[in-house]
């Protein structure tokens, strides 16, 4: 690629010594920056700049740099190759041209240069404004505004007394009293159930043999004891137990 580039560069027209920029490739931030600097030497509005002349300046610049054996970054060379191509297209007769047309490419390059130039100037104008710490100054020793957060503790009287109640309850020696609960013992149930089924020849539900009571605790106790009593009577051959299906009513009668 290098050899090829050099050939292209040698074709580039000579530019008067005075028009040449100082050869310091580090001074530019990339090829577009260099192109913009070269464009500014044309001293015309960027909208009217001659892209062909600009391309020639760029190629000449890179060529000079080559001659001086300066190391040239790859992106400068890529740009040089592209511009050399653009130049040849611009010089070719119109009808032999392909898409995109060289005019379009040249116009796009011009638009890019305009945009970079606009931002460069905008940056300069921004920096020229009255800046804090350079042109205008803030108060040297402001006292500062402070918001001091002050906790405002809240609690309700209920919180207080219930907390105290809980402490007392927690720390008081606990006395456990087993409450009296009415139960039907297994012995009672055996005697009771045997006597009741003996008096009735038909099947009856286990429920129907339980005592009538309002006390749900006693009722549950009686049910449990009577069930076990029924099983015991069946084991002794004194009673029969039947159930039509799962969870159906348990039927009992004397054997």
């Amino acid at each position: 690629m290098n050899d090829l580039s050099i050939e292209i560069f040698e074709d580039a027209p000579e530019i008067a010594e005075s028009e040449r920029l100082t050869l310091d490739i580090d001074g530019w931030e990339g090829p577009l920056d260099l192109l913009l600097s070269l464009a500014r030497t044309q001293k015309v509005d960027l909208r009217e700049i001659s892209i062909l002349a600009l391309v020639e300046q760029y190629l000449a610049f890179i060529n000079d740099a080559k001659v001086l054996k300066l190391e040239i970054a790859a992106d400068y060379l890529v740009m040089a190759a592209w511009l050399a191509y653009l130049k040849s297209c611009l010089l070719l007769p119109r009808d032999e041209q392909e898409d995109p047309s060289p005019e379009e490419l040249a116009l796009r390059l011009q638009l890019r240069l305009q945009r970079l130039n606009a931002m460069r100037e905008a940056g300069a104008r921004l920096m020229a404004r009255n800046r804090i710490g350079r042109d205008v100054f803030l108060r040297g020793a402001p006292e500062g505004l402070r918001v001091v957060r002050k906790m405002q503790w809240t609690a309700e009287i209920y919180d207080l007394i219930s907390a105290y109640g809980q402490i007392r309850a927690r720390t008081e020696p606990a006395v456990h009293v087993v409450a009296h609960r009415p139960v039907m013992t297994l012995e009672d149930a055996l005697v009771r159930l045997e006597r009741m089924i003996g008096g009735i020849p038909e099947w009856g539900t286990l429920q129907s043999f339980l005592p009538e009571t309002e006390d749900s605790g006693y009722r549950r106790s009686a049910l449990a004891s009577s069930f076990v009593a029924a099983l015991e009577l069946a084991r002794q051959g004194k009673a029969l137990i039947r159930q039509e299906e799962d969870f159906a009513e348990l039927m009992v009668r004397a054997a």
Binding site: E143, V148, A174
Partner: protein
């Protein structure tokens, strides 16, 4: 609006405004130039800013602007953020209220749990508890009591307004938590029948 200040006044004013440490007459002369009668300008400025939001003052030969002392409350604003008392603090407060005056060791004995240093601090910050001397026992521990602010906050005329143990018992507040909880569960279960 005031009449337009002269250039000399503007210069001294700006220098004082931007200064970090205050400026002596000498400093000011060096800053704004010898042509300006700094002392006279300082008089004018002191007069101009008297009665405004900030004023020009001299402290140990250094001149500077400072905000008017009567507006200090604007610079340091207190914002109250309400916050509920923690459980530990509530319990501690309750013990002090029921047993005062009471030492820290006694509070811990009643609570059955140690109290952290911050707990009493919070109660004192709230203004509900105050140190009330020392107990004349070995070690002379500090004892704590409640304050009038405490009574006021909780809507109590005096200490006797606090419900007694009998009242607490009647209200079910002395039932151990577990027992109270069980009673509640049983009730619910029966309600389902």
């Amino acid at each position: 609006m005031s009449e337009a200040p002269g250039e000399d006044v503007r210069a001294v004013e700006a220098a004082l405004f931007a200064s970090e440490d205050g400026l002596t007459v000498n400093d000011l002369t060096q800053t704004v130039g010898e042509d300006i009668d700094v002392k006279a300008v300082l008089e004018i400025l002191a007069g101009h800013y008297a009665g405004r939001g900030f004023m020009l003052v001299e402290r140990g030969k250094h001149w500077h602007f400072e905000t008017a002392p009567d507006l200090a409350h604007i610079l340091r604003r207190e914002r109250e953020s309400p916050r509920k008392l923690s459980r530990a603090a509530t319990e501690t407060l309750a013990i002090i209220a029921y047993h005062e005056p009471v030492s820290r060791a006694e509070i811990e004995a009643i609570r059955g749990v140690q109290i952290s240093k911050g707990t009493l601090d919070v109660l004192m910050e709230a203004g509900w508890v105050r140190p009330a001397g020392r107990r004349e026992t070995p070690g002379r521990p500090l004892i704590y009591a409640t304050t009038p602010v405490f009574l006021e906050h909780f809507g109590l005329q005096n200490k006797r307004d606090l419900p007694g143990l009998d009242d607490l018992k009647a209200a079910g507040l002395l039932d151990p938590v577990d027992a109270a909880f069980e009673a509640l569960e049983l009730e619910t279960a029966e309600g389902d029948d």
